[in-house]
Subunit: 325 residues, 2 copies
Amino acid sequence: MPQAVIAIHGGAGTITRAAMDANREREYTTALEQVLLAGQRVLADGGSALDAVTEAVRLLEDCPLFNAGRGAVLTHDGTYELDAAVMNGATLDAGAVACVKRLRNPVLAARAVLERSELVLFAAEGAEAFAEAQGLELVAPEYYFTQARHDQWVRARATSGMALLDHDAAALAAQAAQAGAVDPIDPDNKFGTVGAVACDAAGNLAAATSTGGVTNKQVGRVGDTPIIGAGCYADDVAAVSSTGTGEMFIRTVAAYDVSAQMRYAGLSLEESARRVVMEKLPAISGRGGLIAVDRAGNVTLPFNTEGMYRGVARVGDPVNVWIYG
Amino acid sequence: MPQAVIAIHGGAGTITRAAMDANREREYTTALEQVLLAGQRVLADGGSALDAVTEAVRLLEDCPLFNAGRGAVLTHDGTYELDAAVMNGATLDAGAVACVKRLRNPVLAARAVLERSELVLFAAEGAEAFAEAQGLELVAPEYYFTQARHDQWVRARATSGMALLDHDAAALAAQAAQAGAVDPIDPDNKFGTVGAVACDAAGNLAAATSTGGVTNKQVGRVGDTPIIGAGCYADDVAAVSSTGTGEMFIRTVAAYDVSAQMRYAGLSLEESARRVVMEKLPAISGRGGLIAVDRAGNVTLPFNTEGMYRGVARVGDPVNVWIYG
């Protein structure tokens, strides 16, 4: 039997030491540790991998430091649109919600879709009506509000206004730099997503992912987070949660590809995940990272950005968290 | 250089000879032939695989016989919610729309997302606003109306009303049979989707898929059609369009899995598609089929249901269409 383990991420991107002071860094590492301890406790008490990843992502959604649930980024219209997914590797059961605006915890709605519906993906008002009927907590938009995300949105709107005719991200960033503005792309938060993967004592795997999406995104944009196989995937080989430029993770079917290369080409978890993050995604300018676990309890946390909020906790061992590369 | 080829499907399910008279059969085969001839013409004129599949699916959407565009099924609320996706294997570029209600041709909106946005998946009103800004044709809900789909919806609602506490499909069907009612599951139309795959003279591949979803579906339900990797996928190994019980195609990442088994395990197109349709999907009660083409121009059209509307046209050869197994 493997040693039960949970890994989490809080998004990848440009997390430079210059932009991070000691207090801010401690805030993030403490938050990651608390979430890991809670997930570890679920597993230590004999809980399933599915229960552990759901609980970890629920806590990450409730933490305003991360772009999911409370603390989510704003769309171009100043609204919130959240996505989440969860998958049980033991059964291939999956549930996901997209473009929900009133749910405190999108991951709990995804879990309810998995357990209490015949659907996998439920969008917008239909998903909210289902979640409400299941007794899940609804919130007003103000619940998601944080000053930092609001200020970021104001900056992004101001800068995108002058650049509407030029969608090239590098050109945008160069213009902003010349103007002395904050990077309008804000890669840190552009890649903001949270997720968890776990292997329980029975060797069963599960994954969960949740996000507020991309700052200033067009209303209706759905990234990789609620797409089974892209932002979230689990079977009896591997469980994977992704974070990054969502469109490229969809086009490379990034999360499932980790499992597929292991199953069909006999690669290790680490090598399979490395090829996805360091070769396949960069080939189409995809940036970000992923966390993955296999049924032997191996964990890998590759990313092709400067940093990724991440951590691992094995039952019976101390928790470990990291931010930079 | 391969002989350019296009394959199409118009959905899989219980298409029994008993329910089909000669006139009805001729309607379907003629429609499939016309679409194939149009797609074949695009390829013969030197058009790309991407152009051929887009044109074929546009025509299938316009044909009221199939569950996509005009002729789409109704949701539980009596509304229409359409999904479509398209992918260019040469570049891994992809575009998709979900839950759109006012677009004459969802596949053209998916194509516009692919070519004129940085997004891959666009949902609901946001997708419609984007399509409208791109000059695509909007329609009123009446445009989609057909008497057959409406009658089917009335039957499904009537039957599901008595079975609200029992979501088991087999029990539902048994109850309906005892009551002398039409099968409320209506497997024929439950699996209604249209799609096309093509290999052009340059050996480039593309796939497109479009659907009205499932009769009497819950508003907000998104199946596999707009999910890259599930209902639609293309790379430089294979192009795939799926039709069937969408949730199981999402959970098995069915379309991408055809390519993955070829690339990583060295399987042929035919064997890879066979394993997905005849082994992986049935293992989780998934029913339906897919059409797939590789860069050598090989085509395979497996399905695990009684029938699948389908056809193949190679440039320079007569077109072939089939309905039954």
